[in-house]
Amino acid sequence: MIHSLFLVNSSGDIFLEKHWKSVVSRSVCDYFFEAQERASEPENVPPVIPTPHHYLISVLRHRIYFVAVIQSEVPPLFVIEFLHRVVDTFQDYFGVCTEAAIKDNVVVVYELLEEMLDNGFPLATESNILKELIKPPTILRTVVNTITGSTNVGEQLPTGQLSVVPWRRTGVKYTNNEAYFDVVEEIDAIIDKSGSTITAEIQGVIDACVKLTGMPDLTLSFMNPRLLDDVSFHPCVRFKRWEAERILSFIPPDGNFRLLSYHVSSQNLVAIPVYVKHNITFREGSSQGRFELTLGPKQTMGKGVEAVLVSSQLPRGVLNTNLNPTQGTYTFDPVTKLLSWDVGKINPQKLPSLKGSMSLQAGASKPDENPTINIQFKIQQSALSGLKVNRLDMYGEKYKPFKGIKYMTKAGKFQALLSN
């Protein structure tokens, strides 16, 4: 299946390669570089590139291309999904997945890649198993290793691989038993010139951090499970139980994992938490334009809107801007034409606004592109869809765990189209 893997950085150097079958010359990447040159933006490189003898399937994460070399038919998503899993694992191990981090931990990277694929077919991709095989590097362990001469490779053989609960390692012990769940919702919306919603949908996840001794069997129930009609689960969730009772029943992996992700579509009325009022005018023939933007909260259930950040790609004709924010700071980059305004917290009594003028290229005609505004924000302690966890129970172990749940709403791809 997967023949080889090349890691290419943003400047086009191959800084790591790994082969699972016979060695493929790195010249095969030339086809990739060609495609990269043709693409205007880094993300426009086609994920699948056919070459005379191989196929290259690549993903771009953290400005690194992960290029897999394939020799014969294989579902492309299979490879793409696997590559993303590799990146997730690196991130899990090193905190960040950057070229520097990979180079610093090259030994661990090789060991991981060796375990994750056997002859090109995924072998161990569960983080719990991998962590048993290869211990993640920490500063302390590095020091200890250097002194004592021990290594990162686990001395124990991973028994999890053999069991039918392959996602959980065995023999877990904690003094404080705790289980935390974060319900995080991202709202994606497109709002048109007049302020009405074109699309709005919510993408939600429940991330868990479970540190429980032994083999706990958890059940999680919701107040309003009907909201969850479009869900995907971690493999540990018993699907039949969910179908029948709408209860999440599972033996959790140890540590951090994503329990489920869900999607609340536009059919279920999604309330938009903020509104934008704007007035942007370019006059034909004049070298000045007016810019006015006001933000306000809307249906936030009494929770404050925080960490608001507004950014917009202004038309190419704009030379500079002279704007006054009522709060926060704004910057405009005359080269990339990117306007960004860090608003901070919205005060419902005194709405933040940004007003002023833009100077346009002299003699240039009225720009006809359609600028859009991207808005980011956070609302703590509230899930926009109204999803609420009812209770969490534990079976199979005797102790009493500490339980916690947190809600948060964030803006995902939240766009407002501006008139011109």
Partner: protein, 1041 residues
Amino acid sequence: MDGFDSAVQCVTVLYWVCDPQMIARGKNASDLFPAVVKNVACKNIEVKKLVYVYLVRYAEEQQDLALLSISTFQRGLKDPNQLIRASALRVLSSIRVTIIVPIMMLAIKEAASDMSPYVRKTAAHAIPKLYSLDPEQKDCLIEVIEKLLADKTTLVAGSVVMAFEEVCPERIDLIHKNYRKLCNLLIDVEEWGQVVIINMLTRYARTQFLNPNMNESLLEEGGGEKAFYGSDNDDDTDDEEDKEEKEKKKTEATAIVKRKPYVMDPDHRLLLRNTKPLLQSRNAAVVMAVAQLYFHLAPKAEVGVIAKALVRLMRSHSEVQYVVLQNVATMSIKRRGMFEPYLKSFYIRSTDPTQIKVLKLEVLTNLANETNISTILREFQTYIKSNDKDFVAATIQAIGRCATNIGEVRDTCLNGLVQLLSNRDELVVAESVVVIKKLLQMQPEQHSDIIKHMAKLTDNIQVPMARASILWLIGEYCEHVPKIAPDVLRKMAKTFTNEEDIVKLQIINLAAKLYLTNSKQTKLLTQYVLNLAKYDQNYDIRDRARFIRQLIVPTDKSGALSKYAKKLFLALKPAPVLESPFKDRDHFQLGSLSHLLNAKAGGYQVLPDWPEAAPDPSVRNVEVITLLERVTTLTSVPEWTKCSSREKRKEKKADKPFYSDSEGESGPTESADSASDTASGSESGSGSEESGSGSESEESNEESESASEEDEEEEGKKKKKNVEKIKARKPVPESERIAAIACLFTLAQHQTIHDCSPVFEKTLCSFLFLVDPAPSPSQVTPLNNFLSSSLVTDLEGLSLTDNVLSPTTIIPSGNLKTYELLHRITGEGLSVEYCFSRQPFSPDPHMVAVKIQFTNSATSEAKSLHVEDAKLQSGMRIKEFPEIEVLPAGETVSVVMGIDFCDSTQAANFQLCTHTRKFFVSIQPPVGELMMPIFMTENEFKKEQGQLMGMNEITEKLTLEEKCQGEHAVVQRVTTAANLSRVPCGSDKECRFAGKTVTSGSLVLVSVVTKEDGAAQLTVNCEKMVIGTMLVKDILQALTQ
């Protein structure tokens, strides 16, 4: 490398050695090979692992030295720890050195019957590795695959199907017996395995089931009915009303066509039902695999469920989106209704990468219809103002396609496009021109003003493609713009020399057309243009000019063609069809690489068309169902009391250790799995264990612990009384053994795999104590083989071939091992058994004689039994038995047929036909039956043996079982296992046997030397190494059990 103080130092150096950067710089690290390989036996795990990495990487270049390390791995293969066995196999099979192929083969075969499912999984992984190293091993590997396919653990399923896909995807017949099991296990298999299995099952289902949309397609084809039902055969099936209407239509249609209504095969339904939950997987590849399965296999009304899942995937990484959108684009052409409710999810965001934007446009265009076109067009209008010029161009083309597909909006679209002609961006204008040209071709009469408008554009627009399009339009419709056309030609003639080639060609075209319609005004201009073209640099243009001049300008020499010039140039041209590039892509399996590239990728398996008539569904029948009936009767037998026999059981445990360290702690999901594991695991496990040092391994210790836990558990669970009763019984008669197994299956069936409790599982495990581990030649129909083979081991007493030459061999032919060919149930009353009669097959001495016995236990007589349609491996031949004309009810008849197996243990597949039915059957010979005895003196034997040394000789040490000590017993067992004759020998410590393979006549020499305390040494010499290794295994088994 030996002198390092610490492992760290060693590791550092090794990394330096393994670093590909260094290799890239041209320094070859392979010089260090001997020094590195020495460390293979190092205790430090990290060093060991690195040596493995290094070894795998460089072994191909340093073959001889790599061999040094092999023995370490061979030792590892025998390690009591399953993880060490597995990793030894993993590395051994990754070393790409051809010379060790036989060793690998042996190791894989052994691992395939290992008791640990994890080792078996590794064996499955090793199969494609060996296959890529030496494709000649295919036949043997298929055997291993067949065996592993029968495995019932979720751990193995994914890996073995992957091996199946790489080695023998064409052997779809291997799947039959495992089909239902795979469907049922699917949800618990790890995600990567799920993808592979689902894709394979899609292909399988296409060959085995009928098209569920059969009736619909009939309806569509039946042209007469079409008008009656309205012309749209779109599949907007999603609303309830529509569905009902469809139902109605369907029934009516069937009434008309007079076809019996389509009934879905329950197996087909099983597949659809068991895959559906996986749409909820977090793994995009799994979701996509299920989606394509539904698209290719489900009835139209059910396909809709996948839309939601696919739309969800679009929220994932952009690469995932890219692939999903490609597939959605293909699907949306065929099943538009499915995605219509999700129209808004395909709206484009300014932050999407261009390639995603273009794909979304494609989907939006496919989804456009009369009702939603206005929304879509409004959306398109916003897109046209985007910064991204490639995207704008794609949008304009999309508008063009909407306009051609939906007549109502054609004028609106055209107007919109004409407005774009005044856009400041030249690219936008050019693209619009090209699209307008295509649209105008459909109804040019009404649009002469647009053509005029476009004619004016020639002054400004510079993009060659657009200029060419305008010129072509004016030329084509010059009668609609009689005044402007000559003027345009005049202007173009002026700039002719500076134009691009495609524009020049169109100028010549325009000139020619005008000359033909309006020669008065344009004669001179045309001449001028043609003269210019005559001296052009491009030979295409020169050619064209010369050709056109000859054709249109009448001269005295001009040929017959010029008469037709007008017809040639001004013929009515068909309007271009603006089609989606995704049309008809669905002949590739969706989700595949080939589909994405729209070109066949290497190794792509074509998705077959539905068969006209469904093949025999009974091939998928497994025994379970029939046994249920028997269980109900057997479990009610009163004499089964919970008598006391715990001590006895313990005894039994002691002599038959039950190794399953992993199963003991396995969680609540697996049930049937662990059951089968132990059945197959203990079979080989006990063999190798006894032959070893005899010391108790840690596993058996652990096992007895877990077994005693079971005892405690047992106390409490009185609910499953029947179960316990069976368990309590010690000297288990045959019939009860069957009952026990049957019970297991029943329970396993009732208990949904996901929810079964550990208690239940333990009961299952303890059940297996009852089932004596007996060798079953093929795992496909385990029950019958259990029965027959254990019978045979019991009866094994007297052995013999009635070969005159060898007086020392003694099996009365009545005691030959019989195998089942066709079970009474599947055969509908006809049961067929076969045995290898060990008599020479007189019509052809190169064939193995197979005695086949038919028993008709049905109530009616069976007629004309004969063989048909043999599917044989290359080189194999078959000599059919004469047709049996009538077999009355209750009668039994025997016939003999000959099969030339080509000295391989490949099964011979053929159809057994009666006057009413056909059954697919296969005969697979044990290796011992592929040979025939020959007579030899002791001296001859020694001489021949001397010539078959080295790789042709295989020696194994073993410990003879108690009952088997003594010359007589050894002779019996060896001759039962293989068709050999004894060679006279002076010493009573040594038994020798000789034979030759039936087809090629290669010598097979076996000698067993016994020593004190039951220790013995087995030597097999055979030219054919594969035969040799398999024979060793068989004889070992015969001698140690």
